[in-house]
Amino acid sequence: MKKIKFSNVLIFILLLALSVVFLIPIVTVIVNSFKDKFSISQTPFVLPNRETFVGIENYISGINDTGFLSALFWSLFITVCSVAVIVLFTSMTAWYITRIKTRFNSLLYYLFVFSMIVPFQMVMFTMSKMANVLRLDNPVGLIFIYLGFGAGLSVFIFSGFVKSIPISLEEAAIIDGCNRLQTFWHVVFPILKPTAITVAILNTMWVWNDYLLPYLVIGSDYKTIPIAVQYLKGGYGSVDMGAMMAMLVLSILPVVIFYLACQKYIIKGVAAGAVKG
């Protein structure tokens, strides 16, 4: 730091103020999760005092009411498996249809791209009926559905990157006696790794937070976290605000841990995903 410019100090203060504004909603929820449920909705901006502080009572009732631990398990299971399946299969597909140029393959490519702009509501009814008929209305079936639904964006991003890999590498591998699967696995996939991370990050953010698709496909038999949170609200009775606050904190927690652990990749992934988009 040679000379501190006055304008930079102003910007720093402005950014600091904005950061506080950005953090207030989260801090408010955390503070309220320790308050008595009757003092939450009317005075959310008041710190808990001796009368309204209830310790972890809200957490206990929230976890019990919604089956949070099982929701956490299913969310993790569905997200991790779906993302792994998506990355593996769509990278293979993208490589194949980009390298082997047939009319059918380019039609496929355009269908994948096309699927990206179709809103979920267009297919939600027919898709969930179909999942029902094909007995895909369980967590494993859901992973298959996610592969189909995530294919558009993922194939698109992978294809964009495959085009920039020199084909001579793959030709050398073929001459050396690799078959296509070996070529892909030993030569192409290692080069695709940064893109694979981007695709994994974008899909994780989507699958983890997705509400409507799993709700329509498997209902509330295997609740994921968003479904568990919405379930607290369900029905016509009044909502237990204490349990709700605790659930909100518990749902944010894994996300924050994931974010702080992989921040570098997430930021890069978002920027890279956008360039390809």
Binding site: N8, S19, F89, T93, L108, T126, L136, G152, F184
Partner: protein, 281 residues
């Protein structure tokens, strides 16, 4: 050779294609067809022509109201999000102390899911309004501005990251040359920075417009359309038409097709308009 390539096609493409067909392709075309039918389950479809489309607009004002609400919301949200995100990106590329920390904070809300976001903001907005004797569902404009605040909070960070990447790509030599030539900061912004980040602007507009148009979870959690469906957006209206009562499945599907065409037309138009302003470099 042909046989071999067929075998590899099965290995490389079949799994994705099978899932894609079942989750997207077949439901999509079935949906298109069913929008011209009356049905409860799918197997009992009976062709009725464009009747569903007429009913979508004439049965009640819900769809038109939702459309109007969505357009108003999208317009304001897209401008707010992009202007603030761009300004933040400008500030965060000035090598200021704590840049990384600020970026972390601004981006974080983006990772929180729509349902959870909705309930967080319901608490905040109700807490403020309570002092004046209102709640978020007493007036549709509370729900409207609540949604705008919520989606700004959520999407600004994401767009900011994209703008930062765009700004960092501008070569320092050009900026330096402009400064030596005595260009004012505003002039540099208008004549160098903005034209150079046009690709980022294209992407950000595309993402914010389509995301705002398709908003569902946040809408459901924040107000669920209350008061009396006045804050219902298109996606939620379609959902309620499908699952709210029996006998409206065809109408719901017709609304969904209209929704799809709208999103596609708006997105493609925007891509065409901003792409044409991108400079070759």
């Amino acid at each position: 050779m042909r046989k071999a390539s067929k075998r590899w096609f099965i290995v490389f493409v079949m799994p994705t294609l099978a899932a894609f067909s079942i989750a997207f392709l077949i439901p999509f075309f079935m949906g298109l067809y069913l929008s011209f039918c009356e049905f409860r389950t799918v197997s009992d479809a009976r062709f009725v022509g464009i009747q569903n489309y007429i009913r979508a607009f004439s049965d009640n004002g819900d769809f038109i109201n939702a459309l109007w609400f969505t357009v108003k919301f999208t317009f304001v949200a897209v401008i707010l999000i992009n202007v603030i995100a761009f300004l933040l990106a400008l500030m965060l590329t000035k090598r200021i102390r704590g840049t990384n920390l600020f970026r972390t904070v601004f981006f974080m809300p983006n990772l929180i899911g729509g349902i959870v976001l909705g309930y967080i903001w319901q608490l905040i907005i109700n807490g403020i309004l309570f002092n004046y004797g209102y709640s978020i569902i007493s007036n549709s404009s509370f729900g409207y501005w609540g949604l705008v605040a919520l989606s700004s909070w959520q999407m600004i960070g994401y767009m900011m990251i994209i703008y930062i990447a765009g700004i960092q790509n501008i070569s320092n030599a050009i900026l330096e040359a402009a400064r030596v030539d005595g260009a004012s900061p505003f002039r540099i912004l208008r004549s160098i920075i903005i034209p150079s980040v046009m690709p980022s602007i294209t992407i950000c507009l595309f993402l914010t417009i389509t995301n705002s148009f398709k908003l569902f979870d946040q809408n459901l959690a924040l107000t669920a359309g209350a008061p009396s469906k006045q804050t219902q957006m298109l996606a939620l209206d379609i959902y309620n038409t499908f699952y709210g009562r029996v006998g409206y499945e065809g109408v719901g599907q017709a609304k969904a097709v209209v929704f799809f065409v709208l999103v596609a037309v708006v997105a493609l138009m925007q891509l065409y308009l901003t792409r044409s302003r991108e400079v070759e470099n």
